[in-house]
């Protein structure tokens, strides 16, 4: 019954598998960070491979297959899951967290850096991931691509389908939001004392002005 199948089907499949399957772990990891659901992540990766196989002919041999696969996956995510993920995030994010203009100051970062604080050795990588998962999805996406997958800005722009300038601003913002979550975590867990924040430079203009008012 399979007689009419093209003879080179098997060749094409094994070529596809040889090139793509080694990236499955990376794709799954990124899918999990994007969807925050193991079930959706699995479906997303499976769909990515199916699409990649169908469009394998359009893949330019010799170019970056990992970036190509991530482009397909990111595209599928944006079309099919992003709205759902966004709705869930808006529902679970406290209102004050949506406006995240108060980033962590340099002095606050330095408080983390203090050898006595030993922040990163007290921090489990699961806790970092938990903090990352709280970053809104559009920002989280570029942080995952840059800081976990190590793609360049240009590659990320290609994968996400936006200008390099947008990648830079999302990455900057996403990283600062994550930093804020980690800093808040450090205070909550008593890794650093909140007192050090009082000494720092103002985190934003309003705080600066308020402090001036209080002092004057």
């Amino acid at each position: 019954m399979f007689g009419f199948r093209r003879r080179d089907d098997a060749t094409q499949r094994s070529e596809f598998e040889a090139l793509t399957l080694e990236h499955m772990d990376a794709l799954y990891g990124a899918a999990l960070r994007l969807t925050r659901s193991p079930k959706d992540a699995e479906d997303l990766v499976q769909d990515t491979y199916l699409k990649a196989f169908r469009f394998f002919e359009s893949f330019e041999k010799g170019t970056n297959i990992k970036a190509w696969l991530f482009k397909i996956q990111t595209n599928t995510f944006i079309n099919r899951y992003r709205r759902k993920v966004k709705e869930r995030e808006v529902a679970e994010t406290p209102a004050e967290d949506i406006v995240l203009d108060r980033f962590v100051s340099a002095d606050q970062v330095r408080a983390l850096q203090d050898p006595e604080t030993d922040f990163f050795s007290k921090l489990l990588s699961d806790e970092v991931v938990e903090a990352l998962d709280q970053v809104p999805v559009d920002f989280r996406m570029v942080v995952v691509l840059a800081d976990i997958q190590g793609f360049s800005y240009k590659e990320i722009a290609e994968i996400v389908g936006c200008p390099v300038g947008t990648v830079m601003s999302r990455l900057f913002r996403g990283r600062r939001i994550l930093q804020k979550h980690l800093y808040d975590y450090a205070i909550r867990e008593g890794i650093i004392s909140p007192d050090t924040t009082q000494e720092g430079e103002p985190v934003d203009l309003d705080a600066f002005r308020n402090r001036k008012k209080a002092a004057g």
Partner: protein, 253 residues
């Protein structure tokens, strides 16, 4: 370069994404400005440690052990991405290669095959000329079991019957009926009930017009499936579950 610009450029510098002239201006500012120098070093320390933590967790993460098997099975079911030979062969091929999931799993109303057929998006073998007549005739000529098509008001529901083709699900000939709702595709599948029958895991039950529907999502697609007589029906689409439930309920009217 001023302090604000230097702050913006610190990420670019850490990522190795600056132009040579930008890097020179950045270095000059940071060397001269104590505040930015302190900030940059703190940021660089933080960023390196953070990346390490993120990568550690990503390295530890393992996909479910059966994912690779599912992917290769799915690909081997797929014909190579080359142009189809003839429509007749396509139909025959579809019947020949389908059926890997259910025939093995057997016990559940696995939505995998209907969803896979839906994503294939093959052209209809018969087109509707405004009513269900052609499609009904085509299906009853090719299938050994009756398929009840939902009957609904096209104008009111905005759902248009496009046509139908034969498919293969659970190793049996199946009806694949295509609808369109303002550009969104809705696929209806009908196929004989497998010997053992259980709702798909993760699906919820919904009652509509005295009929029990299994409602869930598979690979990002909304699926509503139900049993009527000895035939399983499954609607697959990107349109809302409520819409699909409405369509399913209209089958009896």
């Amino acid at each position: 370069m001023d302090c604000r610009e230097a702050e913006r450029f610190s990420d670019l510098s850490l990522d190795g994404e600056t132009e040579p002239s930008e890097q020179a201006a950045f270095d000059a500012h940071v060397t001269a400005c104590g505040r930015c120098s302190g900030r940059f070093h703190a940021q660089s320390w933080y960023q390196n440690n953070l990346r390490q933590k993120l990568q550690e967790s990503s390295d530890r993460l393992e996909p479910p052990s059966n994912l690779k098997v599912r992917i290769t099975a799915q690909i081997s079911e797929e014909r190579s991405p080359l142009p189809w030979a003839t429509p007749a062969l396509v139909a025959a091929g579809l019947a020949a290669v389908a059926g890997f999931t259910w025939s093995q799993a057997g016990a559940t109303l696995d939505p995998e095959e209907p969803v896979a057929r839906h994503t294939h998006n093959l052209p209809p073998e018969v087109r509707s000329r405004g009513d269900v007549m052609e499609v009904s005739r085509f299906l009853s000529a090719h299938l050994e079991y009756p398929v009840e098509l939902p009957r609904f008001d096209e104008e009111r529901s905005n759902v248009r019957l496009v046509g139908a083709r034969l498919a293969s699900i659970a190793n049996r000939d199946a009806a694949y009926v295509m609808y369109d709702q303002r550009g969104a595709r809705i696929s209806l599948f009908a196929y004989p009930k497998p010997r053992r029958f259980a709702p798909p895991p993760g699906f919820g039950e919904r009652e509509a017009h005295g009929r029990t529907l299994q409602v869930g999502t598979h690979r990002g697609y909304n699926v509503v499936t139900w049993l009527s007589g000895n035939t399983v029906y499954a609607l697959v689409s990107e349109v809302d579950h409520d819409r699909l439930v409405e369509l399913a309920a209209s089958q009896d009217r």
